[in-house]
């Protein structure tokens, strides 16, 4: 056996994932920051935090963009969640921390990017240019100085630019400061088969929009959410699903005549030998219900990525319909919104990819 083949055999045995931890974190009413100590410390160079959905709140009519939250892996033992201003009610989000073995990931870059009042975009240089053939950029929420609900100003998408040298975030509007939280991960050769970044734009009187991608094996492909640009209203937020081997479909909560909506999704197909299973759903919380459960075939939660890809919701009643998802057991994934509004019905699409190791 060659030394290379022997080395590959060792990697196959050790696998890709070192640890996966999921935390539900609540910013208490009257505060604007919450830190969470990790049960198992991670090496930040090889770990990212992924916000599993949006922000839950149990107060109807909690419509204010200054209470949106952003998530960061502050150091190897701490997650920090922030809002722009002290909240008027508890705000809860869910975060999955994924630590990869160092032979699986070259590094993860963590950061924030602020679009200042009067601007619609911001760009900054990454500390190291990404190899874009095996990288993904993750949108991890945002904080906004707005004292009203204007999702055209407070929603943003983010992606690499300038061939991986820069990171750029854009929004539809230009009002208020908006700080976007992100992680940029670069896998090593041998982990990823292909990467495709789709920027999907809605046009005309539509509720959905699609992007055609080069064919992937859907059972090996994970979607990473890059955020969305939006119209003014909450029901115009979008989510995305891999609807066939060659198509990503983005959905909003309603048909909109004057569309400014778009979203960014990175489809990462992992090499077949690493992937044990992949399950997906777009879980809908019915009007009047607080949660909805999706039963899955049992997975090992210690090596299963559970990543949502945006969300959409019906009705413009308020901003309380920010759903999250999280596993409640090895066979159940729950969508949750902390209240039981009869006016709205959010849907959160997700994919759960289990690695062999």
């Amino acid at each position: 056996m060659s030394r290379r083949a022997n080395f590959d055999g060792v990697l196959n045995h050790l696998g890709l994932i070192k640890s996966i931890q999921t935390y539900e974190i609540t910013i208490a009413s009257g505060t604007k920051e919450k830190t969470q100590t990790l049960t198992t410390a991670v090496n930040k160079t090889y770990a990212y935090a992924y916000k599993l959905g949006a922000d839950r709140c149990n107060v109807a009519g909690y419509a204010n963009d200054k209470y949106l939250s952003g998530v960061e892996l502050t150091d190897g033992s701490t997650i920090t969640v922030r809002t722009h201003a002290n909240t008027a009610a508890d705000v809860t989000c869910v975060v999955q921390v994924v630590e990869w073995h160092k032979w699986a990931v070259k590094d993860v870059q963590h950061g924030t990017l602020t679009i200042v009042n009067g601007q619609s975009s911001a760009t900054a240089a990454l500390s190291r240019a990404l190899n874009i053939n095996r990288s993904a950029v993750i949108y991890n929420g945002s904080t906004c100085s707005s004292t009203t609900q204007n999702r055209d100003h407070s929603a943003a998408s983010i992606a690499w630019s300038s061939a991986g040298a820069n990171i750029t975030t854009t929004r539809t509007g230009t009002t208020n400061d908006l700080t976007v939280y992100y992680c940029a991960i670069e896998w090593r050769a041998g982990v990823v088969k292909s990467v495709q970044v789709a920027s999907i734009a809605f046009s005309g009187n539509t509720q959905t929009a699609t992007a055609t991608i080069s064919a992937v094996t859907t059972s090996k492909t994970m979607l990473f959410w890059g955020g969305c640009k939006n119209n003014a209203f909450q029901e115009d937020m979008t989510g995305a699903e891999l609807t066939s081997s060659t198509q990503i479909t983005a959905t909003g909560g309603r048909v909109v005549t004057n569309n400014t909506r778009s979203c960014i999704v990175t489809a990462v197909e992992f090499k077949s030998k690493w992937v044990k299973s992949l399950q997906s759903d777009a879980t809908n919380i019915a009007a009047g219900n607080e949660t909805a459960d999706a039963t899955i075939t049992a997975v090992n939660l210690g090596r299963t990525l559970i990543h949502p890809c945006g969300y959409w919701t019906t009705n413009a009643f308020s901003t309380v319909d920010h759903p999250t998802i999280y596993p409640t057991s090895t066979t159940n994934i729950r969508a949750d919104r902390d209240h039981t509004s009869a006016f709205m019905s959010p849907t959160i699409p997700w994919r759960a990819l289990e690695f062999f190791r």
């Binding site: 300038s162 495709q196 005309g204």
Partner: protein, 83 residues
Amino acid sequence: MKHVQTNPQGTVTATVWCSDGLPPPVHPRQAAVTEEEAVEAEKPYMRFDRDTKQISPRARPAAPTEEPGLAPDSKTAQPKKEK
């Protein structure tokens, strides 16, 4: 490589960047255009000659070499080949 996709009205509906080695996505709109172009290509290319005042078939003009629809920064966005 970046691929721009449009609807029948010509509005950009998606931009997809594919990593090295992937074939380009075959967007339905692109496929439709290709079929139309194929039908058009079957027709003889006619040209009016001012001197003879006659219409006669001629060789088709060469297609433009630059790929249409790519964003101006597409060349800078080319991924480097892995060694």
